[in-house]
Symmetry: C2
Subunit: 295 residues, 2 copies
């Protein structure tokens, strides 16, 4: 192919002479919502421990948002994709290598970073409690796992002339051993005859940096959506697990109780049974399952 452009150049000539213009360019960061599930303290050793959904946050050691908690992340380098940058941050922060990683959304609101023009491509990572143990040797001293809850608090609908605006307010709560953060995220759905638009806004925010409350909210919504029709939740499970544990994970993600019989029917084709059982549990042993790797 040797097409010539208006200046009579071939593509090779064009590229050899190409000089990037000096118009403004944004910095692009990759930020990660890293989820895991851990056992809460049980009242008695005969009772099963409850499961908690947790997110990793890092306390900011410099301006802006000094002292606030932020998602792990960093700037993308010219020789890597946003996904590679996310995986690199994940490795640096947690030592974990082989995890489920999914791009969520690219945030580009003007002024979202008070320093300069910064976009953020956000990712969701799911790691299981086996892998989390490796978290010891991280460089950011002020990293902590926060228990997450995300709950619809208020719902309203306003009719406009030719459509309506639905407003949903969610309370996002993040609780660690020594900090408790709360944010309210508002989801606004504007329905008009020829369009539907959804926008997120942070209404109040106590302790989270940047627009990271929005990112966490979006991640939870994605997780909740996918749990119902994929095997995504299995990435939060250790190698061997009981169906009751799996059900607890679904319940903590969806923030709602499920019926045992129906749940077992539903996940039957996502798991493979093994010949192992739990031991010394203070009650009847439970069969252990693995994630199904065929099909």
């Amino acid at each position: 192919m040797d097409l010539l452009d208006r200046d009579g150049l071939t593509e090779r000539e064009f590229l050899e002479r190409y000089q990037p213009g000096d118009y403004e360019r944004p910095s692009v960061a990759a930020d990660m919502v890293i989820f895991t599930v851990t056992d809460a303290e049980a009242d008695s050793y005969r009772k099963l421990p409850e499961k908690e959904l947790r997110v990793l946050l890092i306390r900011r050691g410099g301006h802006p948002f000094l002292g606030k908690w932020a998602l792990p992340g960093g700037f993308v380098r010219p020789d890597e994709t946003t996904e590679q940058a996310a995986a690199r941050e994940l490795r640096e922060e947690t030592g974990v290598e082989d995890v489920y990683l999914e791009q969520l959304y690219t945030f580009s609101d003007v002024g979202r970073d008070p320093r300069t023009w910064v976009m953020s491509c956000s990712y969701m990572a799911l790691i299981n409690s086996d892998q989390v143990k490796l978290q010891a040797g991280d460089d950011a001293a002020d990293a902590a796992w926060f228990k997450v809850t995300y709950r619809l608090m208020r719902e309203s609908k306003e009719l406009t002339g030719d459509g309506y605006i639905k407003t949903l307010q969610y309370e996002l709560k993040l609780i660690s051993e020594d900090a408790e953060l709360t944010a309210v995220v508002e989801k606004t759905i504007t329905v008009k005859p020829s369009s539907t638009a959804t926008a997120y806004a942070v209404v109040s925010n106590d302790g989270l940096a940047f627009d990271h409350a929005k990112m966490i909210a979006l991640a939870i919504e994605r997780l909740r959506g996918k749990v119902n029709y994929t095997d995504i939740a299995l990435h939060l499970m250790p190698g061997l697990f009981t169906l009751t544990e799996l059900q607890q994970v679904y319940e903590v993600i969806l923030d709602k109780e499920l019926l045992k019989a129906a749940f077992r029917r539903k996940v039957a084709d996502l798991v493979t049974e093994t010949d192992h059982y739990t031991e010394n549990a203070g009650h009847r042993p439970s069969r252990l399952f693995r994630r199904k790797m065929e099909e």
Copy 2:
């Protein structure tokens, strides 16, 4: 809040003195997959016309990819979000203002643009045939609507030691009045005990610029996925439409025939019936419906 950082600065002082470093930054473009549905020519005026799913492409007038077809798009400016940039491009290209717009994915492969470091945040827009008429006055002379088909051609699965790799090859065909483009997009799903990764690659590509074959493939997959559990397809319909037309749109998106009775039951709560009917159709008139704006 007047916390001081290690240099003893308040946040305000820090920001006043902040100088962006001179590390490399990418350009960020917003590219759009604009879908619409139009009637194909009918054999006889007594037969219903078939529906076609179409995408807007623009022939490149300069290097790189001179003469190839590309998605409409452009660079994001510092005073706008990627979404605003997408909406701006859409307006410039088609004159259309009020449409369904959804962020798809941010592409950042190294070398995806041969000139320089460019990421692209891709969007999907759905516009209806009423709105498309406005397309006359566009600046890019070489814009054309292409009929799209996207079909699974080959499927294979290879077992690895502890998991498997599934490879799906899709043929993407784009046909306009005077051009026919074909690309093969390969979707690779790598399943390992603690992760699942999906990657897209363009295996062959005849006539599309950049990685735009991947973007279109991703857009179609998103559209197909959402059609089943949202009212997204209604954004492709004009103000009044028959249920048969709506079914045709579902069928052309999903590339599969649906059963009439079941379809009507399924969409019943997405539409509102009107008192209008089609006229002079050469057969029994059909009731016209609108998109349901309540609930």
